[in-house]
Amino acid sequence: MSVDKKTVAKIAKLARIRVDEAQQEALSGELNQILGWVEQLSELDTSGVEPMTSVVEMTQPLREDVVNDGGYVDRVTKNAPESAHGFYAVPKVVE
């Protein structure tokens, strides 16, 4: 698998990161190197080996269903560039 300039541009757009035309070439080279390394890893036979999800053996901790957070609209909207009537106010997004 190899990544060309067009793919780099698409990934950048999906991630909302601006990548200039000039950078795209260099990035595709870097990404190809990473993918090459991953391909090298896949030479190893891992059939029958469970994917490792954590370095320590543990399961998903669960929380009791109690309300103990929220109720601080000012803190929530404090860092917003703009807010109004308790809402975040953003440039209009309509279909």
Binding site: V66, D69, G70, V76, K92
Partner: protein, 484 residues
């Protein structure tokens, strides 16, 4: 009796699959301790986790997991003892994380079945493909400011179940039956309140068309339809639109569409097209969810009797028709009410009264069951009076109206108004003798072969007894006397 749409080139079959998003009943959100109640002030039920502040970590809500398991059991589905939360990546103003935490390759619930109750008491099984847990997004309000949208994150992070059907539905009616049955099961289980007008249940509607027997056509997906009627309208519109396109020699584009309730039409949501590349990957903040089999067993024990089982029991124990039983069990409270009325009474008569006069009166007065002026015991009392011939069915309607007005017991009203049915043979006979003596013309007509005159005699007798004579006895006595 299959649903077909006539096109210029013949008949078309419609293939429908539904993805239902059902809000999980829980106090707090899927991954945070903020409240989930409907109707709060904007952004008052938002934690820093829900607002996706840097460094905040999700912690899974145990009750939501239990609700997911309950729902899976209620859908007769496979519970996956291991499931994985993944990130579904896209950008939108009401999605502060830039991704929705959802389940993709390994959902908590696998294949199951929903049995549809169709008209005439028929049933049909529809496959469930899967059910997974995921976060809801926030709400965007576009009509409060000329150049801005307002974002409320109260809903952000609330737990949803996405229940995906197989493309087994074939008509708008079946889609409606599916949604009603699913809603009924979720309400029985107590896992979702099913209030579509509050957005607790919404459907994405997948529709394609084909000539019967042919391969599946290309489908479109109409997003976020929030009532059963709208789901049905969108299917009708979408099927006709697709048939016309194909017959005009064009191709169906697989795309996301939006339903407009004011016109009953759908339109393309072009802006969403590019966002379809969701780049799912396991959420590194969340370990795989592994269920303890003993815990699942414990949950299994708490599953109540569900509509299908209750329906089978009503048919068997009460001798009801499949159709009547299906109506009575659709709502858990109403089913319990019926059972209380039928307890120790004529069960079929009780079913007729509950579904007819009683629910009719409830609907007319706009009352809920628990605010009704007539209790199950009181209605049972009225039915008892009909069964033991104290009053006729016709008088019972009058008594019922009085009960609804006053909240009094049936026997009290019968006593007060003197409505007790006359079952005394001699009293009825006396009335009949007088009528026969005073109307020789009619008697002659009847004896001459005009048997329909019996109705006139019955009417006269009822009139003479103030409507209180036992109609069965009147009939029998009249026939006997007129034959003399």
């Amino acid at each position: 009796m299959s649903y077909r749409i006539k096109g210029n080139t013949g008949e078309w079959e419609v293939v429908i699959g539904l993805e239902v998003h059902a809000q999980v009943i829980s106090n707090s959100k899927l991954f945070s301790g903020a409240a989930t109640a409907f109707g709060a002030e904007p952004n008052h039920q938002v934690s820093l986790v829900d607002a996706a502040m840097p460094g905040m970590l999700p912690v899974l809500n145990k009750e939501v997991v239990a609700q997911g398991v309950r729902t899976g059991l209620g859908l007769r589905a496979k519970i996956n003892m291991k499931s994985v939360f993944e990130r579904k990546n896209y950008f939108y103003a009401d999605l502060p994380q830039g991704y929705q935490i959802s389940q993709f390759l390994e959902p908590i619930v696998g294949e199951g079945i929903i049995t549809l109750d169709l008209d005439g008491g028929e049933t049909r099984d529809v496959g469930i493909e899967r059910m997974h847990l995921e976060q809801d997004a926030g709400k965007s309000i576009h009509d409060q400011h000329p150049t801005q949208s307002y974002i409320d994150l109260n809903r952000s992070g609330v737990a949803l179940m996405e229940i995906v059907s197989r493309p087994d539905l074939r008509s708008p009616e079946e889609a409606g039956a599916y949604l009603r049955k699913l809603r009924s099961i979720l309400r029985y289980l107590g896992t979702c309140d099913g209030n579509m007008d509050e957005g607790s249940m919404r459907a994405d509607v997948n529709v394609s068309v084909r000539k019967p027997g042919e391969e599946l056509g290309t489908r479109t997906e109409t997003k976020n339809v929030n009532s059963i009627r709208f789901v049905q309208q969108s299917i009708e519109f979408e099927a006709k639109r697709q048939i016309k396109l194909i017959e005009d020699g064009e191709k169906i584009v697989q795309e996301t569409r939006l339903f407009d309730p004011s016109t009953g039409t759908t339109r393309s949501m072009r802006s969403k097209e590019e966002a379809h590349d969701y780049r799912y990957f396991p959420d590194p903040d969340l370990l795989p969810l592994v269920l303890d089999p003993a815990w699942v067993e414990e949950i299994k024990k708490t599953i109540p009797e569900l509509p299908d089982e209750k329906k089978a029991r009503f048919i068997k124990d009460f001798g009801l028709s499949a159709y009547d039983a299906g109506i009575l069990v659709a709502d858990r409270d109403r089913a319990a009410f019926y059972e209380a009325v039928a307890e120790g009474r004529d069960a079929k008569l009780a079913a007729n009264w509950v579904m007819g006069d009683y629910f009719g009166a409830l609907n007319k007065s706009g009352l809920s069951l628990d605010a009704s002026p007539v209790t199950a015991q009181q209605l049972g009392g009225l039915i008892g009076l009909i069964s033991d011939d104290t009053i006729s069915g016709r008088t019972a309607k009058e008594v019922f109206e009085a009960m609804w007005e006053s909240g009094k017991d049936a026997d009290v009203i019968v006593e007060e108004k003197g409505l007790k049915q006359i079952s005394d043979t001699s009293a009825i006979e006396a009335a009949i003798d007088e009528i026969i003596a005073n109307n020789p013309g009619q008697v002659e007509g009847y004896k001459g072969g005009n048997e329909r005159l019996i109705g006139w005699f019955v009417g006269q007798t009822m009139k003479a007894t103030g409507g209180k004579a036992n109609p069965g006895m009147v009939n029998a006595l009249l026939k006997k006397k007129l034959a003399e």
